[in-house]
C-alpha cells in the first residue's frame, strides 16, 4: 500500500515540477495529466486498502473529466498557436497588473 502511495506522490511531484518549470503549453499540459493520474493512483490504492469501490468509481470519474479537459485544453492551445504561432506560455503575459 505505502509503495503505491509513494509512487503516486513521486508522480505528482514530477508533474508539479513539470508545470512549474516548462514553458511550452503542451508540456505543461502533459505534466497536468501526470498529476491527475498520480491522484488516480492514490484513489485506487486507498480504495483497495479500505476494501470498497468508491475510490475506484471516483478514479473513473476523474478519467472521464480528464478526457473532457484534454479536449478543451488542446483546443485552447491550438487556438493560441494559430493566433500567435507560439505555444510558449510566457508570451501570454497580457494580464500583468
Amino acid at each position: 500500500m505505502s509503495y503505491y502511495l509513494l509512487l503516486s506522490a513521486l508522480l505528482f511531484a514530477i508533474g508539479l515540477y513539470g508545470v512549474l518549470s516548462r514553458r511550452t503549453a503542451i508540456l505543461i499540459f502533459m505534466s497536468i495529466e501526470l498529476m491527475l493520474n498520480a491522484a488516480n493512483l492514490a484513489l485506487v490504492a486507498f480504495a483497495r486498502g479500505s476494501g470498497n469501490l468508491e475510490g475506484q468509481a471516483m478514479a473513473l470519474v476523474v478519467i472521464a473529466l480528464a478526457a473532457a479537459e484534454v479536449a478543451v485544453g488542446l483546443g485552447i492551445i491550438v487556438a493560441v498557436f494559430r493566433a500567435r504561432s507560439s505555444t510558449s506560455v510566457d508570451d501570454l503575459a497580457e494580464l500583468r497588473g
Binding site: S21, D90, E94
Partner: protein, 608 residues
C-alpha cells in the same frame, strides 16, 4: 371648484409663460398674464357675491385636509390682491417694455398672484404656509429679476434669508398649535378655542411664534432690513409685492388668527409695541433717503407698523381697512415713482429730479394724490384709515394712551416725509439732464384708477355717525372684541386733531424742503437716517460677520478632513499599486503561488 380656479388660472399663466413665453411677441405675455389675473379678480367678485365658497381634499396629509375657504375676510383680501394685482400687471406692460425678460417677468408675477391667493384662501395653516413660502419664492425671483448685477442678486438672497427666520417661527407655531389641539384647520381651531374655558399655557408661545412669522414677512423690527433692499427689483414688483400685497400677509395672518390673539393680551401688547416701533423707525428712516423708491419703501415699513399696532390693540378690521387703503396709495406712489424713473431713463436719485410737475402733469397728479393720502390729508383714504388706527389705540381693549401719542407723532413725521418726497420730485427746478417724457396710457390709466382709490377708498368706512361698510362685512370672520364706547364729540375732536397734525406736518415739510436752509442738527440726523440708523451695519457686525467667520473656520476644518481622506485614499492607491506587481501575467508564477499557498495550508493544517 371655481374657488380652485382663482389659484389655477394665474398658475397656468405661470406655467405657460414660463415654458412658451420666449416665443411670444412682446405685449402678448403681458396681456395673457393681465387677463388671467383679471379673470381671478372677477371670480373672486362673483364668488363673494354668491356668498362665499369652500373646497377641500380630505386626506391631503394624514389628518390634515387641503382646504380653501372664501369667507368675508379672504374675499376682502382676495379683492385687494387680485384687483391691485391686475392694475399693476397692466402697468407693467408699459414699464417692462423692451426688457429682455419680458415674458419671464409676467410668468413670475402670475406665480406670485397664484401663491398669494393660496395664502389668502387657505382654510388651514399648512395650506397658508404653502402660499407663504410661494410668495417668498416669487419675491426672491422678482427682486433678483435683473440678476446679472451682483447687488440685485444679493438683495434677493437677503430677502429670502431674513424671511427664513420668520418662516421658522411660523413652522414652530404651527407645530405647537397642532400638538395642543390636534388640528391645524383654522375653523376647527377657532371652535376649539371658543369652546374651551381653560386655555393651554403654551398658547401664548404659539401666538408669539406665529407673530415671528408675520414679523419676517411684513418687515417689522427687528427683521425689517430686507425690505429697503428689495427695491432692487423692477418698480411694479415693489408696488405689488413689497407694498400692496405680500408684506401685508403678516397682518392678514394675525387677523386670520384673531380668535387666538384676542385671548392673548401679553402677546397682543407686544405686537402693538413692535408695530409702533416699526412705524417710528420707518418714518425716521424715510426722512433721510435720497432714492425715490427707498423713501417709499421705508414709508411702507412705517405703514406696516401702523397695521401691526392696529392688530395688536385688537382693532383687526381697522388693520385690514388700512391694508386696503395702503394698497391703493402705496401702489400708486410706487407706480408714480416708476413712471418718474421711466421718464428719466432710470434715474432714481431725488437730488437729480425736481420740477417734474411741468414735464409729467399726469404723473404729478398721481404722485400728489398718493403723497397726500399717505400723509393723511383730510378726507383722503389714508386719512380715514390711519385716523381709525390712532383712535383705536384709545378704545380697543389692548391699547393705551402711549400708543396714541406715539401714533400721532409718527403721523406727523409721515406727513413731513410724504411732503419731502413730493417736493423733491415734483416741485422746484429740474436738476437732472435727461429729457422727461410722460408715460404711455397703458401706465397712466392704471394709475388713474389707483388714484381714485387712494382718494375715495376711505369712504367705505367712516366714523360714526356715518356709514361703515367694512366692519360689519368682516365681522363674522374676525374675533369679537369689546370696544369702549367713545362719545361722538371726543371722537370727532380726535379726528380734527389728527387732521391738524397731518396738515401741520405737510406745511412744515413744504417749508423745510423748498424754502428753508436746513439747520446743522438736521443734517446730522439726515446722515443717520440716510443709513437707516446703521441697522444693517450693526447686523453685519453682530450676526453676519461672525457667521461668516464661523463658516470660514468650518471650511478650514472641512479642508483638513478632506486632506485626511485624500491621504487615506493615497495610501490605499499606493498599496494597490504595489500589490499589482504580484500579477506578473506569467502562468508559471501563478502556479508557483498556488503551490506555495497549498503547501502553507497543508502545513498549517497538520501542525494545528
Amino acid at each position: 371648484m371655481l374657488l380652485l380656479l382663482i389659484i389655477l388660472l394665474p398658475l397656468a399663466g405661470f406655467v405657460y409663460l414660463g415654458l412658451a413665453g420666449k416665443h411670444l411677441r412682446e405685449p402678448l405675455p403681458g396681456i395673457i398674464a393681465s387677463a388671467l389675473t383679471g379673470a381671478s379678480f372677477l371670480l373672486v367678485v362673483a364668488l363673494s357675491l354668491g356668498g362665499g365658497a369652500a373646497w377641500e381634499i380630505k386626506d391631503w396629509l394624514p389628518g390634515i385636509p387641503f382646504s380653501l375657504v372664501l369667507d368675508p375676510l379672504s374675499s376682502y383680501m382676495g379683492l385687494v390682491v387680485t384687483g391691485i394685482g391686475f392694475l399693476i400687471h397692466v402697468y407693467a406692460i408699459g414699464y417692462m417694455h423692451g426688457d429682455e425678460g419680458f415674458s419671464r417677468f409676467f410668468a413670475y408675477l402670475n406665480l406670485f398672484i397664484a401663491m398669494m391667493m393660496t395664502l389668502v384662501l387657505a382654510g388651514s395653516y399648512p395650506v397658508m404656509f404653502i402660499g407663504w413660502e410661494g410668495v417668498g419664492l416669487a419675491s426672491f425671483l422678482l427682486i433678483g429679476f435683473w440678476y446679472t448685477e451682483k447687488k440685485n442678486a444679493d438683495s434677493a438672497r437677503k430677502a429670502f434669508i431674513v424671511n427664513r427666520i420668520g418662516d421658522l417661527g411660523f413652522l414652530l407655531g404651527m407645530a405647537l398649535l397642532y400638538s395642543l389641539f390636534g388640528t391645524l384647520s383654522i375653523a376647527e381651531l377657532r371652535e376649539a378655542l371658543e369652546a374651551s374655558h381653560v386655555l393651554p399655557l403654551s398658547l401664548g408661545l404659539a401666538g408669539f411664534l406665529l407673530f415671528v412669522g408675520a414679523v419676517g414677512k411684513s418687515a417689522q423690527v427687528p427683521l425689517m432690513v430686507w425690505l429697503p433692499d428689495a427695491m432692487a427689483g423692477p418698480t411694479p414688483v415693489s408696488a405689488l409685492i413689497h407694498a400692496a400685497t405680500m408684506v401685508t400677509a403678516g397682518v392678514y395672518l394675525i387677523a386670520r388668527s384673531s380668535f387666538l390673539y384676542v385671548n392673548l393680551q401679553d402677546v397682543s401688547y407686544f405686537i402693538a409695541v413692535i408695530g409702533i416701533l416699526t412705524a417710528a423707525y420707518g418714518a425716521l428712516s424715510a426722512l433721510g433717503q435720497w432714492d425715490i423708491k427707498k423713501i417709499v419703501a421705508y414709508s411702507t415699513i412705517s405703514q406696516l407698523g401702523y397695521m401691526f399696532m392696529a392688530v395688536g390693540v385688537g382693532a383687526y378690521w381697522i388693520a385690514l381697512f388700512h391694508v386696503m387703503t395702503h394698497a391703493f396709495y402705496k401702489a400708486l406712489l410706487f407706480l408714480a415713482s416708476g413712471s418718474v424713473i421711466h421718464a428719466l431713463g432710470g434715474e432714481q436719485d431725488v437730488r437729480k429730479m425736481g420740477g417734474l410737475k411741468k414735464y409729467l402733469p399726469r404723473t404729478h397728479l398721481h404722485g400728489l394724490a398718493g403723497a397726500l393720502s399717505l400723509a393723511g390729508f383730510p378726507l383722503l383714504a389714508g386719512f380715514w384709515s390711519k385716523d381709525a388706527i390712532i383712535t383705536a389705540t384709545l378704545n380697543y381693549p389692548f391699547g393705551g394712551t402711549g400708543f396714541y401719542i406715539a401714533g400721532l407723532s409718527v403721523a406727523f413725521l409721515t406727513a413731513i416725509y410724504a411732503m419731502r418726497w413730493y417736493a423733491l420730485v415734483f416741485l422746484g427746478e429740474y436738476k437732472g439732464d435727461a429729457h422727461p417724457h410722460e408715460a404711455p396710457p397703458v401706465m397712466t390709466i392704471p394709475n388713474d384708477i389707483l388714484a381714485l382709490g387712494a382718494v375715495f377708498a376711505g369712504f367705505l368706512a367712516l366714523p360714526k355717525p356715518f356709514w361703515n361698510l367694512i366692519e360689519p362685512y368682516l365681522a363674522p370672520a374676525l374675533a369679537h372684541v369689546e370696544v369702549h364706547h367713545m362719545s361722538l364729540g371726543l371722537e370727532w375732536g380726535l379726528i380734527t386733531l389728527s387732521a391738524v397734525v397731518a396738515l401741520a406736518g405737510l406745511y412744515l415739510g413744504y417749508l423745510a424742503f423748498t424754502r428753508w436752509a436746513l439747520p446743522k442738527w438736521y443734517l446730522t440726523f439726515q446722515t443717520w437716517s440716510e443709513n437707516a440708523f446703521y441697522v444693517d451695519l450693526a447686523y453685519n457686525a453682530v450676526i453676519v460677520t461672525p457667521l461668516k467667520e464661523l463658516a470660514y473656520i468650518w471650511s478650514l476644518l472641512d479642508g483638513a478632513l478632506d486632506t485626511f481622506y485624500v491621504y487615506v485614499a493615497g495610501v490605499s492607491g499606493w498599496l494597490g499599486e504595489r500589490l499589482t506587481r504580484v500579477q506578473t501575467g506569467y502562468v508559471r508564477a501563478y502556479g508557483a503561488l498556488m503551490v506555495f499557498g497549498l503547501v502553507a495550508m497543508l502545513v498549517w493544517g497538520v501542525l494545528r
